[in-house]
């Protein structure tokens, strides 16, 4: 059997070896490895594609092992396991208030905030916040609808990714 994986690894030495060596020891054969250095994630990780060959049991054990290492698996055989989405919140409100909104988003189930970038206007009354979220499996649309509700309630403009 063959399994194609897309994972995200921190850009520090030894990260890939730490994953691949144990996989080999399970009996899995790593046939392709492609790094996407030019396509870093918002939190600076590097997407890595690789293909594993082996029996069903070995491949299942391999995926379980990778997950156990706290490594983000983005795709398995082309099926998204995790999606990231960038959006902006803007409004004529003090920074503290916009951060309240960020907290509400952070409390949403199945939504993980991976980065927050805040820009405060000259008069300290106009704030813009860029947020990158991660959602699992297919709940991206649902998550963004919840975030839209939060933004509407807090009188903020939500600018979503196309």
């Amino acid at each position: 059997m063959r399994l194609k994986l897309l994972i995200e690894l921190p850009d520090t030495p030894g990260q890939l070896v730490n994953i691949l060596q144990p996989l080999s020891s399970f009996g899995a054969n790593v046939s392709t490895i492609i790094h996407e250095h030019d396509n870093r994630t918002a939190d600076g990780k590097i997407p890595v594609h690789f293909t594993l060959d082996g029996s069903k049991e070995i491949l299942e054990k391999g995926v379980e092992f990778i997950r156990g290492q706290d490594v983000d698996i983005v795709e398995i055989d082309g099926i998204l396991q995790k999606e990231t989405q960038t959006f902006l919140l803007l409004g004529n409100i003090p920074t503290a208030d916009i951060m309240q909104t960020v907290h509400k988003i952070d409390e949403l189930e199945d939504v993980k905030i991976s980065s927050v970038d805040l820009n405060i206007g000259n008069n300290l009354q106009e704030s813009v916040c860029k947020i990158v979220i991660e959602t699992s499996e297919n709940n991206r649309l649902e998550a963004i609808n919840f975030i839209q509700d939060i933004a509407d309630n807090d009188n903020l403009v939500l600018i979503k990714e196309i």
Binding site: L90, K130, I159, E161, I162
Partner: protein, 343 residues
């Protein structure tokens, strides 16, 4: 093959109407040679009145008259004053109406009445006017069907960028699942300048007005109404939806700050005013698009992406406005009607 005469009545002689007179004057011989179509304009009307000659107007003279006096009624010998569009349609001898009066998004008039009268008189119609199409699309299409006349409106959607004809002809057989696009050149110019120059919204709008890119009253452009009309026309005509302007969730660009544009840029995103017909919903709102993506078009350019069942994504980029560019879309509709009627 015999040359077929096609007589046009042009209502509205502003930038678009004059553009039509210009391109037909420019291309008259070429159209005979390539399509066996001898296109003549037998009537032109503006607010002042009309010029009507069943043997065809001298287009250069019509353009010169408009340039010199601002009124088509001053056209020598054949000028008529105090007539409205409906009266001109009764007086003129024509085969196809070119409706290019200014867009009215409150009730679509007088365009809608002009179009319906022409159809009831068994005349074909080409229009660039978004108003009645965005408000009462079905009424117009049904009237064309009932009267067995042709009705084309390519110029109403993306100026010179082929939208309707691309979908209907080049993508024939495909089902269009969703449409996303930047359908307003003025807002795209403003947002592009804000990203490239780091300027604030108000001075950038002023600059666009000084350059003639934004109108003195920019409301319909910057608040997204123009783009909303276009996405309604696209959803009705290409996706089989039955919607009107009131169904669009609308947010313009006037609250986009330079801070927001710069913060988006830090991660390689641009803010664009995007119109979409997707998942049963119509939306016009500022959205983030990746730099380098097909949506990252600069200046006054427009772009549209069709997500289809067979061809996946198909994207078209083009100039969305301008006198000659819009006239080019009208001309393509006129030729297609002329060719169909010849066959």
């Amino acid at each position: 093959m015999t040359v077929k005469k096609m007589r046009l009545c042009v209502l509205g002689f502003g930038a678009v109407g004059q553009g039509v007179a210009n391109v037909i004057s420019m291309k008259h011989e070429e159209l005979i040679e390539r399509y066996n179509l001898d296109i003549q304009i037998t009537a032109i009307a503006d607010r002042s009145g009309a010029a009507i000659n069943p043997d065809g107007l001298d287009l250069q003279l019509a353009l010169d008259t408009k340039y010199e006096t601002g009124k088509i009624k001053d056209y020598p010998e054949f000028g008529v004053s105090d007539v409205d569009g409906l009266e001109v349609l009764d007086m003129a001898e024509y085969d196809c109406l070119v409706e290019a009066t200014p867009t009215n998004i409150d009730d679509g008039e007088p365009t809608q009445s002009n179009i319906l009268k022409a159809m009831n008189d068994k005349k074909d119609v080409v229009t660039s006017n978004k108003g009645p199409l965005a408000l009462n699309f079905k009424t117009l299409v049904d009237a064309a069907k009932d009267n067995d006349v042709k009705f084309r409106f390519e110029a109403s959607v993306g100026g010179a960028m082929p939208v309707i004809n691309t979908a209907r002809q080049s993508l024939a057989g495909n089902q269009i699942q969703s449409v996303q696009g930047i359908l307003n050149g003025t807002t795209n110019y403003i947002l592009s300048r804000m990203a490239n120059e780091g300027t604030e919204y108000e001075p950038t709008l002023k600059e666009a007005q000084e350059l003639g890119i934004a109108e003195t009253n920019p409301y319909q452009d910057v608040e997204g109404l123009d783009a909303a009309c276009k996405i309604v026309i696209i959803a009705n005509s290409l996706m089989g939806w039955d919607v009107s302007l009131k169904d669009v969730s609308l947010h313009g660009i006037s609250d986009i700050t330079s801070n927001a544009v710069q913060l988006a840029l830090k991660d390689g995103y641009l803010i664009k005013l995007v119109a979409e017909a997707k998942d049963g919903k119509l939306t016009v709102a500022p959205m983030l698009v990746k730099q380098g993506s097909p949506f990252a078009v600069n200046g006054t350019l427009n772009v549209i992406n069709f997500k289809t069942d067979l061809s996946d994504n198909v994207t078209v980029v083009g100039v969305g406005a301008g006198s000659i560019e819009t006239a080019s879309a009208i001309l393509s509709d006129i030729i297609s009607i002329g060719k169909a009627n010849t066959n």
